[in-house]
Subunit: 123 residues, 2 copies
DNA sequence: TCAACCGTATTATACATATAATACAGTCAC
DNA sequence: GTGACTGTATTATATGTATAATACGGTTGA
C-alpha cells in the first residue's frame, strides 16, 4: 500500500497536483513499486481531510498518465516498468531543479553560493 | 526603471505572484534599488500580454508589503532599505530552496547527489 | 449470499484567478 | 493649460480548484 504518512498539505499549489507529485516522488524514491495498492479514494480523502472529488481528480490524471490502473468496484494499483520510472524521474528532477537553479541565478547567487545553501539546508 | 526583459510567463502559478516574485528576485539580485521607477500598469500589461488588472493586483500587494509606493496619477517607485532587502532575501531563499531540498530528499537523493545535480544543471 | 467496501458520476455552491470593457480624477512635461 | 499618461475603480464573464451531498453499480471476503 502506497504510504501518505510523509505527505503534508501545502498551500499555493492545487491539492490534486500535490497528490500526484507525492505518488511520483514515492515511485522515484523506490518506496512505491509496480503492483502496489493505492489507498481508496474515500480512505485517502479522509486521511488528508480533503474532498473525495479532489482525490478522484488526482487518481484520474494518474490513470491517464498510465501510472495506475483502476477497475470499477476494485482497488487501484500502480502499473510501472523501468521506462516509466525513468521518465518520471527525469520529469521531477530536470523540471523542478532547473526551476530553482534559474531562480537562484536570477537572484545573483554564484554556483558556489547555491551549492553551499543546499548543503546548509539539507539538515 | 525596473526591467522585465528576463521575465518569461510560466504556467502553473498565478501570474500576479510571478510578477511579485520577479520584482523580489530583482531586488535580491541588486538589479533593482531604492527609488527605482516601476513600469506603469498599462505598459507592463502590454509588455507581458496580460490583463491590466492582473498587474494591478501584483502592484497592490507589493504596496501592501511596503515594497513600492504609488500616488494616484504619478508613477510608482521602489521603497527599500537594507532591512527590507534582507527580509526579502530570506523569504526567497529559505522558502524556495527548502522546498526543493525536501522534494529531493523525498525522492531518495543523497546530499551528494543533490549537490551534484545542482552543479550539473547550473550551466 | 450479502454486507462492506470499491470506482465512478452528477449537481450545486463557493472562491481565486484572469480577462474585457470602461470610467474618473490626479500628475507631469510641453 | 492642455494632452498624454498615471493610479484607481467598477461591472461582467469565464475558467480552475475545492467542497458538499448524493447516487449507482461492480468487487470482494466472510
Amino acid at each position: 500500500m502506497l504510504s501518505f504518512e510523509q505527505f503534508d498539505l501545502q498551500d499555493g499549489s492545487p491539492i490534486y497536483l500535490q497528490i500526484i507529485r507525492h505518488v511520483k516522488q514515492s515511485i522515484v524514491a523506490g518506496s512505491a513499486e509496480n503492483g502496489d495498492e493505492m489507498p481508496s479514494r474515500r480512505v485517502l480523502s479522509a486521511l488528508l481531510g480533503v474532498n473525495p472529488n479532489t482525490v478522484q481528480k488526482a487518481y484520474r490524471m494518474l490513470e491517464e498518465e498510465g501510472i495506475i490502473e483502476s477497475r470499477s468496484g476494485a482497488k487501484s494499483y500502480l502499473v510501472l516498468d523501468a521506462e516509466k520510472v525513468q521518465r518520471i524521474r527525469e520529469e521531477l528532477l530536470e523540471n523542478d531543479v532547473q526551476a530553482i537553479v534559474t531562480a537562484l541565478k536570477r537572484m545573483g547567487l554564484s554556483k558556489r553560493e547555491a551549492i553551499s545553501l543546499v548543503d546548509k539546508l539539507w539538515e
